[in-house]
Amino acid sequence: MVTEHSSVATQLRKGVAPYCALALIAEGPRYGYELSRALAEAGVVAGSGSVYPLLARLQADGLVTSVWQPPPADGGGLPRKYYALTEAGDSALVDFRRHWTQLSTGVERLLGATAAGGRPDASR
């Protein structure tokens, strides 16, 4: 039974955040701050700081690689750590997309039906 809403939100975020990070990195190499901002703005992480240990775990799992780059010439001022997807990361993302599509479709159907006051359509 659901008793702690914030805990549910945390668990949901923890489930999807790694793959949202992989999806962002799949678009092209990104540096940590950029990823952190994007994930926080999307509400995938509650605090921006959690993105960095998450990225460390993805790297330890061999799903991403990283490299420090010197400050850009446009006056950025600080070195940036860029992340890129590995082949394993790409496979994990493909796998997750497939699971997510199935799961989210099913959940949407159930939640939509119950919110409308009806019963879930078992025939679909």
């Binding site: 955040a17 921006s48 240990p53 998450l54 460390a56 790297q59 600080l78 940036r80």
Partner: protein, 289 residues
């Protein structure tokens, strides 16, 4: 704000708590995460128009989240190592250790079993008046000509069944052929068990060697990451100093600052004598940087 420069006391306190929370991470990974948190605060503070040293603990926590929560993101959550997408396996060393542990049990069971069966074979061949303790009944000796009852023992599982022959099936005769078959199978089982133990020991030894090599490789990797981070810091410092030097030179020799269009910030002024006076030319040896 330079890379690695100390931030304000509140921010440093937050980072110290974050470091404690990240204790599960290997040292090099923890150092990298802390470096990124530090950079995040510097960049974020800059975006807010705030000096990093003026940020309060509450502000930093509101931006980055509670420090104690960071640790959980490093070791748990829905990532591949904790979810069903990639099933977690114990490390190879542990698997081999398990094999070695259980092979001893198998060997301990198989060797006496072979001995018991051998005694039974000897008895069933008529050499011993064999009696099973506690039952008072005898295993009847059977000669080579005695017909088989049709049961065959052709796998190692038969060895376990052969123990039943000696303890509870005391009223049925065992043919010499059957007994010999059981004996051969149980002997073979004992040999395979010992062989398995030997291979498992070799595997364990190899796994230990691999682990030692892996630890060596990890130490090198740690050092590489450390040097890479240091390189980025030193590089940033060098570029900053090069900009200062170029500017100083330009102002001294040419009376004007170095060209701002120089992307590397390392243009070196050269004064050239021309017919109408002097001209300043900037060369940028590291424009490809």
């Amino acid at each position: 704000m330079r890379h690695g420069e100390p931030l304000g006391p509140d921010t440093e306190r937050y980072l110290a708590e974050a470091e404690a929370a990240l204790g599960e991470l290997p040292p090099h990974a923890r150092a990298e995460v802390l470096a990124e948190l530090r950079d995040h605060i510097a960049r974020w503070g800059e975006e807010q128009g705030r000096a990093p040293e003026d940020l309060t603990y509450a502000e930093v926590e509101a931006e980055l989240g509670p420090p104690e929560a960071l640790g959980t993101w490093a070791v748990e959550g829905g990532g591949p190592t904790s979810g069903p997408l990639v099933p977690a396996l114990p490390p190879p060393g542990r698997r081999v250790a398990g094999l070695v542990r259980w092979s001893w049990v198998a060997a301990a069971a198989a060797v006496p079993l072979a001995a018991v069966v051998s005694v039974l074979v000897y008895a069933s061949a008529g050499h011993l008046p064999f009696h099973v303790a506690g039952t008072g009944s005898a295993v009847h000796a059977a000669g080579p000509s005695r017909p088989s009852d049709g049961r065959a023992f052709s796998s190692s599982a038969a060895a376990a069944q052969s123990a039943t022959v000696g303890t509870s099936t005391t009223d049925r005769a065992v043919s010499a052929a059957q007994a010999l078959e059981i004996h051969r199978t149980s002997t073979e089982l004992a040999q395979w068990t010992l062989q398995e133990r030997s291979v498992a020991a070799q595997l364990a030894s190899l796994a230990a060697q691999q682990q030692a090599a892996s630890q060596g490789a990890q130490a090198l990797e740690d050092r590489r990451v450390q040097l890479q981070t240091e390189m980025a810091q030193v590089s940033a410092q060098r570029q900053a100093m090069a900009r200062v030097l170029a500017d100083q030179g330009a102002r001294t020799l040419c009376g004007q600052p170095a060209p701002v269009a120089d992307p590397s910030g390392t243009a070196v002024p050269v004064v050239v004598q021309v017919h109408s006076g002097t001209m300043c030319i900037w060369t940028a040896p590291q424009l490809n940087h």
